[in-house]
Amino acid sequence: MTRSLTEAELIEAVQNLTSERLSRFLSARIVIPRQSDRGLVYERLDMARLQLACELDDQYEMEPDALSMVLSLIDQIHGLRAELREVLRAIDAQPDPVRSQLVERIGTARFRRG
């Protein structure tokens, strides 16, 4: 696993991230650093998340709390996608008759509504 970053390394690594901006993002819980022997550290995932937060902030000049909410919705969508993929993989591993039954069932549920 790659090494986690200190605050100074993080500010250096993320485009358009300043010390003031990081403070504002931290107060809105946009990222949550981890306590370690080296002080608070950030993972690669935090870095990519902050990059996205900076971009959204630049594009839409959002309140940090609004930005935090948008990111949490994005997280939920990603989570949902990952779990949906798990379910589909499980369906795919079923014997043929079961699979076609499931496909039919899901298709019906999706398209016969309304």
Binding site: E12, L22, S27, R34, L45, L52, Q76, H78, A82, E83
Partner: protein, 309 residues
């Protein structure tokens, strides 16, 4: 796809800066790869729009491009790490827990597997469900000066464990610290969740935080305001003497460089701002009253000159 940044953004050559920004925002909203995961067409469109916007947002580079001094290709953005490359991974700590406690998607799984275990299948035990435990939120109140200088605080968890929370110097109100593995136990063989400790910084009667700066209001006497002089002032490092200039009015602000809070990711510190406020004596005695009455007769001045009547 066209190389012309104007047609990439769908604006005319004479579009205003605001129109260009608006066009870019619209494409970013529809096509940002982190908002549209898995859509390659959208991603290509976003990248082209981002490159076009980079070129056109700065009036100088835009003018250079318009004059043909640079071409559209020279403005490629540096390789970017997209959040979605991490966001879907099982280890994404922001997916479970966080702001929507108890509402994260794993609960759908947990409920599903839980119900099945409960007996839907006539006692035929299905496989155990494994998932990381929930993150647990805690709140920790610290003093203003502990936030400024950093401190170590003990937190007692519901199971009786005591954990140390190391508060770094310069922490701001609302910041949260992750203590790995100190949350709820995992489902099945899943790892435990994290403890998320949100720091609440108590107000200080004298010092106020403004980013990395600290602001105080310092009362001075009328004689100090008129004559000027050295006046003692509190700072977070202790008392210092500041020079009040002759003829100081309320609201004048002095700046002590480097007497503020440590900046994040650096050894530098912000400043302390001292707003001076002239305070009258408790009692206006006859001597002062008489002096002012005499003084007024020959020294009138109008600080409200130019204000609307």
């Amino acid at each position: 796809m066209s190389d012309d940044p104007y047609s990439v953004l769908g604006v005319s050559k004479d579009a205003s800066a605001a129109e260009i920004k608006k066009a870019y925002r619209r494409i970013a909203k529809d096509c940002h790869p982190d908002l549209k995961p898995g859509d390659e067409k959208a991603e290509a469109r976003f990248k082209a729009a981002a490159a076009a916007y980079d070129l056109l947002k700065d009036p100088e580079t835009r003018a250079k491009f318009d004059r043909g001094e640079i071409d559209a290709s020279g403005q490629e953005r540096p390789q970017q790490q997209y959040y979605r490359e991490y966001a879907e991974t099982a280890g994404n700590p922001y997916r479970a827990g966080g702001g929507f406690e108890g509402d994260d998607m794993s609960d759908i799984f947990a409920q599903f597997f839980g119900n099945r275990r409960g007996g839907g299948f006539g006692g035929a035990r299905t496989h155990e469900f494994h998932a990381p435990g929930h993150d647990v939120n805690y709140s920790l109140q610290i003093s203003f000066l502990d936030a400024v200088f950093g401190a170590t605080q003990k937190l007692t968890l519901p199971n009786g464990d005591r954990v140390e929370v190391k508060i770094p110097a310069g922490i701001t109100d609302g910041q949260t610290i992750r203590l790995r593995g100190k949350g709820a136990p995992g489902y099945g063989e899943g790892p435990p969740g994290d403890a998320l400790v949100t720091i609440r910084v108590a107000e200080h009667p004298v010092f106020k935080r403004e980013g990395d700066d600290i602001r105080i209001t310092l009362p001075i006497t009328i004689d100090e305001a008129v004559l000027g002089g050295k006046v003692p002032a509190p700072t977070i490092d202790g008392r210092v003497n500041v020079t009040v200039p002759e003829g100081t009015s309320s609201g004048k602000t002095l700046r002590l460089r480097g007497k503020g809070v440590r900046k994040r990711g650096s050894d530098k510190r912000g400043d302390q701002l001292i707003e001076l406020s002239v305070v009258m004596p408790d009692k206006i005695d006859d001597e002062l009253k008489q002096f002012m009455q005499n003084w007024r007769k020959s020294h009138s001045y109008d600080p409200r000159k130019g204000m609307p009547a």
